[in-house]
């Protein structure tokens, strides 16, 4: 059996990659994809501990998160398309009107 530490390491690695992606990349599509990575890091964590503890609640939670991620992706892409139609760009550093 794979020790829990490996799962956690994978999860932390994914989380770190996702966070760095969200913070550093300029393309909003990439940022959206990085968010997916963060969500999946959480999923791995939940499933791993579910198995370690011997309860299914963690796996149920993971399924919810997948559903949620799908919805989030749909909404997120819709916002991006609407934004692109207005400003002709998908670069995050040009999204500078979020202060009013």
């Amino acid at each position: 059996m794979v020790p829990i530490g490996h799962y956690i390491f994978l999860s932390v690695a994914l989380l770190a990659i996702g966070i760095v992606g969200v913070v550093t990349r300029r393309n909003v599509i990439i940022i959206l994809m990085s968010i997916e990575l963060i969500l999946n890091a959480v999923n791995i964590n939940l499933v791993a501990f579910s198995r370690l503890v011997g309860s299914v609640e963690g796996q149920i939670f993971a399924i919810f998160i997948i559903t949620d991620a799908a919805a989030e992706a749909a909404v997120g892409l819709g916002i991006i398309i609407a934004f692109f139609r207005n400003r002709e760009t998908v670069l995050a550093d040009e999204m500078d009107i979020l202060k009013w």
Binding site: I4, G5, I8, I19, V22, V23, R26, V28, I31, A92, D93, M95, D96, I97, L98, K99, W100
Partner: protein, 691 residues
């Protein structure tokens, strides 16, 4: 109809022309010329009816009862005042009408001659623009003149006095597009104003002295005030009133406006500047004869000014070439006669001459208007001549008037002029001499005018020549009626020495005060023998002058030119009217303009410069200080507060960049912060968390 209906209605007499004037000046523009004629002539016609009705009913009364006073309302109820002698009186000027023999004569002349001239004007003005305006002004003049002669107090008389002055101004300037006409109107108005200043000062002084201006009360009030004959106050009043009369009646030194007034339409010259308005001064002095009889010095001044004006104006009339200007100087000269009469105490003779002069001078002016009409507007006698057969009615009536003014018996001018000369011969022989010479000059210049205009060779330009036509009947009928009056008008005052009974003088007599000392100064009836001699010489000088005029202007037409050349300076002096206009310009007009320029400079420099602009500068300076305070202190404090807040808000402002990436980074940092805090507080480490 009550037996004295017209006497009770005298207040209506001025109101008819006023209604006519109001109609014309308010809606006249929309009326046809025919309607204007009917209203304008008709309103004066009603005045004639009422005036002559009233005169008849006045004559029907006993001589002592010939006075009617109708007070319409209280006009200036000024209240209690103190007079110079210390009496306390209650002054109240009324709007009242007084009809006595004097004002009866005046309304007769004014409405009668005025009516004829209105009729004449319908023909003369038929082709002129502003027809309704002309009749509006003419009716307004009739109103003012009738108020003047019917007023029962001096203040109301002054209203009419100013009213006729205004109408004179409006009518002289009737052709206001012509600069000379509007200038002449202004000149008349300003010169009259100088006289009016004297008039109103005299009026105030009289009020101050006796406390009443009502004609019926003036005599008793002077008696009650205890003024002696020759009293200084009465002399001053009389002289000031006479200054007013010199302005209105064109006497030296204020005569200069009358010759220029000939710029107005000819009917206006006839009505206002010959027959009626200019005689207002004569009427006023006669009306105030009580005051003048208390001031022998003033009477002397009146007589002297009158005589000097008579000969002075006549001398200028000798050489004028404009037909109307000859008549204008003749008018001034004849007015001088009237003042001579007043000055020697012969008030009735003055008024008598006023009346006869109104007839023949109106006729002369209307006749000259008819000549001018026939010659398409020509006024220069050098371009006339031989008109006798071409315009027969005008020529014959004109001849009648000329004989009348020349003093040939039995026409009107002979009777009235002779009355004046007889009176002055007794009182002041020197002035009689002047009047006598003037009579000769009058005959000379009038016949010179007639010979140049109607006889001799025609000097009319050919293109005008075949347009010559007799005037329409509306113009010739007034001429004929006035010609008849010029013949018979004098007969009502036919002197006793020639078998008459001088009804006129006896009719007027109640109006003239008889102060004992004045009667002593002015001898009564002349001896008949002297009378005959005076008449003989004055008729003789008239006939000799006529012969001279005939000789100079029909037989030896080279004589006048030779005379003019030989006399040189004298002729030029007369022709240029003694240069009085130039002297007045240099002495008064230009000095007044200089004063205006100086005052204008003072206005611009001191009032505008120092006063207005200075005040503006001070205001600006103080507002600059105020602005400095406002801008730097008040606003500065406000801005300082804002600046401080701005500085301290800098870090907060930097966080809210509006960029999605920054927000994301902040979220991550925030999560890490909370995580670190959580780990530190709970003491959980990564190591024991994984254990």
């Amino acid at each position: 109809m009550p037996s004295e209906f017209f006497l009770a209605s005298i207040w209506l007499i001025p109101l008819f022309p006023l209604a006519g004037a109001a109609t014309m000046l308010l809606i006249g523009r929309r009326l046809s010329n025919k309607a204007v004629s009917w209203v304008g002539v008709g309103s004066v016609g009603l005045s004639v009816l009422f005036a002559f009705g009233a005169i008849m009913q006045l004559i029907a009364r006993a001589p002592a009862a010939r006075i009617v006073e109708i007070v319409l309302f209280d006009w200036v109820p000024a209240g209690v005042m103190h007079t110079i002698p210390g009496r306390v009186v209650n002054f109240n000027a009324q709007w009242g009408m007084l009809l006595d023999p004097l004002s009866a004569v005046m309304i007769g002349v004014v409405t009668g001659v005025g009516f004829l001239i209105h009729v004449y004007s319908t023909g003369y003005m038929a082709h002129e623009g502003g027809y309704y305006r002309f009749f509006g002004y003419l009716n307004l003049f009739m109103f003012s003149m009738l108020v003047l002669v019917l007023a029962n107090n001096l203040l109301l008389l002054f209203v009419g006095w100013e009213g006729v002055g205004l109408c004179s101004y409006l009518l002289i300037g009737f052709y206001f597009l012509r600069k000379s006409a509007s200038d002449a109107g202004k000149k008349a108005f300003v010169v009259n104003r100088i006289g009016d200043a004297g008039f109103i000062l005299g009026l105030f002084l009289l009020l101050n002295a006796i406390g009443t201006l009502r004609f019926t009360e003036i005599g008793p009030a002077i008696e009650a005030g205890g003024f002696a004959v020759g009293n200084g106050v009465m002399t001053a009043i009389a002289l000031l009133l006479f200054v007013g009369a010199t302005g209105k009646s064109a006497q030296i030194p204020l005569y200069v406006w009358l010759p220029d007034a000939m710029e107005g339409p000819t009917p206006v010259s006839a009505l206002i500047h010959a027959a009626t308005m200019v005689t207002a001064g004569v009427y006023m002095i006669t009306r105030m004869n009580v005051v003048f009889q208390f001031a022998p010095i003033a009477l002397g001044a009146v007589a002297t000014i009158g005589a000097v004006t008579a000969i002075y104006a006549a001398s200028m009339g000798l050489v004028q070439n404009d037909i109307k200007r000859v008549l204008a100087y003749s008018t001034i000269s004849q007015l001088g006669y009237m003042f001579l009469a007043l000055g020697v105490g012969a008030f009735t003779a003055g008024i008598f001459h006023l009346m006869t002069h109104a007839f023949f001078k109106a006729l002369l002016f209307l006749g000259s208007g008819s000549v001018i009409h026939a010659l398409s507007g020509e006024q220069d006698m050098r371009k006339m001549g031989a008109l006798w057969g071409k315009i027969p009615i005008t020529a014959k009536t004109f001849m009648v008037a000329t004989i009348a003014i020349s003093g040939i018996p039995p026409l009107a001018g002979f009777v009235s002029k002779d009355a004046i000369l007889a009176a002055s011969f007794n009182a002041r022989p020197l002035l009689w001499g002047i009047g006598f010479v003037t009579a000769g000059m009058t005959a000379f210049y009038m016949f010179r005018l007639v010979f140049l205009t109607f006889f001799g060779e025609s000097r009319v330009p050919p293109d005008v020549e075949h347009h010559i036509h007799e005037s329409p009947r509306s113009m010739t009928w007034p001429l004929i009626i006035l010609a008849i009056l010029s013949v018979v008008g004098g007969w009502i005052g036919w002197p006793e020495s020639l078998g008459g009974s001088d009804h006129f003088a006896r009719f007027l007599d109640p109006v003239i005060a008889r102060h004992a000392e004045v009667i002593a100064a002015v001898p009564e009836a002349t001896q008949h023998a002297t009378d005959y001699e005076l008449m003989a010489v004055s008729v003789a000088v008239g006939l000799i002058s006529i012969f001279l005029a005939w000789l100079f202007y029909l037989r030896r037409t080279s004589v006048p030119g030779t005379l003019a050349e030989k006399s040189g300076g004298l002729y030029r002096l007369l022709y240029n009217k003694y240069y009085v206009d130039q002297i007045y310009d240099a002495m008064f007009v230009n000095r007044t303009k200089d004063l205006g320029t100086t005052l204008g400079a003072f206005d611009v420099g001191i009032i505008d410069g120092l006063g207005v602009n200075g005040a503006g500068w001070v205001t600006r300076a103080t507002s600059n200080v105020s602005m400095f305070w406002d801008k730097w202190i008040i606003d500065g404090l406000l801005n300082l507060t804002a600046r401080i807040v701005w500085i301290f808000s800098y870090p907060v402002r930097m966080i809210q960049s509006g960029r999605v990436s920054n927000y994301a980074l902040l979220i991550v940092l925030g999560v890490l912060l909370f995580l670190g805090y959580y780990l530190r507080v709970t003491g959980v480490t990564l190591h024991n968390m994984l254990r």
